[in-house]
Amino acid sequence: MRLVKSYLRRAYSSFVAHVFDVPPRFMAFLLFLTLLVLPLAGLDTYYLSMLTYANVIAIFAVSWDLLVGRTGQISLGHALFFGIGGYATGFLSKNLGIPIWVTIPLAVLVGCLTAFLIGFPCLRVKGPYLALITMAFPLIVWRVIKWVPLYPLFGGERGIIGLPSFFPALSGSIVAMNARVQAEYYLTLLVLFVCSVIIYKIANSRTGIVFMSILDDELASKACGINVTKYKLMSFTISGLFATLAGCMFAHLFGRTATPSMFELTLSFIPVVVTFLGGIGTIYGPIVGAYVYAIVDRYFLTILVPKLVDVPPWFQHAKLLIFIFIVLLLIIKWPRGVARFTTDRLEDLEEARDLDERGPRIWKRYKTRKKK
């Protein structure tokens, strides 16, 4: 009993030191708490599923941020992993009848393997050429999936439909449906939390330092004895892993289908837009960006604007375009992203409080004692 008590006390004090005393983290903690209690506050299921969508997109965008914002390898074809995730888990669970908790890890493995195989030749080219090559892959797969002879396997244009849900027990009545939406929301929130913490830890580890060095100066990291290809491939694979996971979640949650549209170009650009909105290279930025995107896309442009003004029919198809326009306007004002702007202000406040007491937040542990 006393042991448990001492552990609890230690956990509490480390929580205070690491979260309460760092304003940006405290803000993040408050936001997370808000997200936790939202369903209990009686939020409508439509908005809840909107936030579920935001969670999935956030996982997707965070994985993109690790690759592009932290390693500098531009990928404009992340939809490839998203789609492969959806199709792999769909194929395994629908056609072979494997339970969902097995198919998702298997699909993630498939995504990892794809990332590894594609990254091996692709990562030898740089900059815009890499972006173009990665962009080509989902488009190729998109055509292959729709190829008529493969209809029995992948269902052609229609895709694989009727995937099992995460909570098969919760169906039938309205009450059960509402409970399912809530359960799915909590599930995605948990997965988002775990994934973003893992990616944040990777990005700030010693390996993450090497990723950053490749972003800054590839030649100089070679001159430091770093096998650049190996680290790029590592980053690409990790990024592919989480993007595939996001695709799996998406396929099982929304419409419970794996459609060819998961390979579409639009989907490759969503993480780009979302990450730039939140702040590239921050890891937490894309999460904020994803929430903004989901709310603007699914609430403002879908519900609020049609309610207020008479919109033409093409409006529904121009939503992403309008969102990108909004992002561009925001980027003029806050070029480093919305989330980073906020944390910068918070850190300024903190620095005013204790000016030379601390170094940059991530590097706190390397801090040396001040000399008298």
Partner: protein, 245 residues
């Protein structure tokens, strides 16, 4: 056996022959300077040895092992580290993390003593070059003189057998130059078996510290000898001052 042997190294860029049959060797614990007017091929020579460029003919041997045309990171892990003429820090990373990148390489990681963390080792390396004050500063906020020293720390982090410094004194004021000379000398005494090659324009600084000088001119080696010999060499004076003096 020589530490580094360069045999008949030739490199052409299109019609221009940047290096023509350059031949020299460096022994363990030797400090050698390479001088020459602009365009003499000094940096090309460095790039060839460190693997950034592939020679058209000739060979580079480290302790008798042929390392010609290997990938740059493999050459670093074999024990040849270099700095760049124009500093290349990792701008978004703190100074200490710049050194940790080099410690993350296979050779750098191997050279970390037992029970010592990478961070501790990086901090020690920075203390050796006198940068411990700026340890947590992002490299983009650090001045040019300090970045030159950071380059040195990065190169030293892999504990190379042969250290190649490309214009280490370029753009430094006399005070900083003196400091760097002192730290190079100290490093030389600490690790007596390490070979050091310095390419430099500032002959005054270079001649103080090196034991042997190699003179390049238009891609060819025109002289080699102790600093005193080189200072008297007719051909070298001709190249630097012009004919008819």
């Amino acid at each position: 056996m020589h530490l580094l042997e360069v045999e008949n190294l030739t490199k052409r860029f299109g019609g221009l022959t940047a290096l023509k049959n350059v031949d020299f060797h460096i022994d363990e614990g030797e400090m050698v300077g390479i001088i020459g007017p602009n365009g003499a091929g000094k940096t090309t020579l460095f790039n060839l040895i460190s693997g950034l460029l592939k020679p058209d003919s000739g060979a580079v041997k480290l302790r008798g092992e042929n390392i010609t045309g290997l990938a740059p990171h493999k050459i670093v892990n074999k024990g040849i580290a270099r700095t760049f003429q124009i500093v290349r820090p990792f701008r978004h990373l703190p100074v200490i993390a710049n050194v940790m990148v080099a410690l993350k390489s296979p050779r750098g990681a191997r050279k970390i003593e037992w029970l010592k963390t990478m961070e501790r080792k990086a901090a020690d390396m920075l203390e050796d070059v006198g940068l411990s004050e700026l340890m947590l500063e992002p490299a983009e906020n650090v001045g040019h003189g300090d970045l030159k020293r950071l380059e040195m720390a990065k190169a030293l982090a892999t504990e190379p057998d042969l250290l190649m410094l490309d214009e280490p004194f370029g753009g430094l004021n006399p005070l900083e130059t003196d400091f760097l000379i002192k730290s190079i000398m100290r490093m030389h005494l600490d690790e007596p078996s390490r070979g050091i090659v310095i390419v430099e324009h500032k002959l005054y600084a270079l001649m103080q510290i090196v034991e042997r000088v190699i003179v390049l001119h238009q891609g060819e080696k025109i002289a080699e000898g102790t600093p005193e010999e080189i200072a008297k060499n007719k051909k070298v004076i001709e190249v630097y001052m012009g004919k008819g003096m």
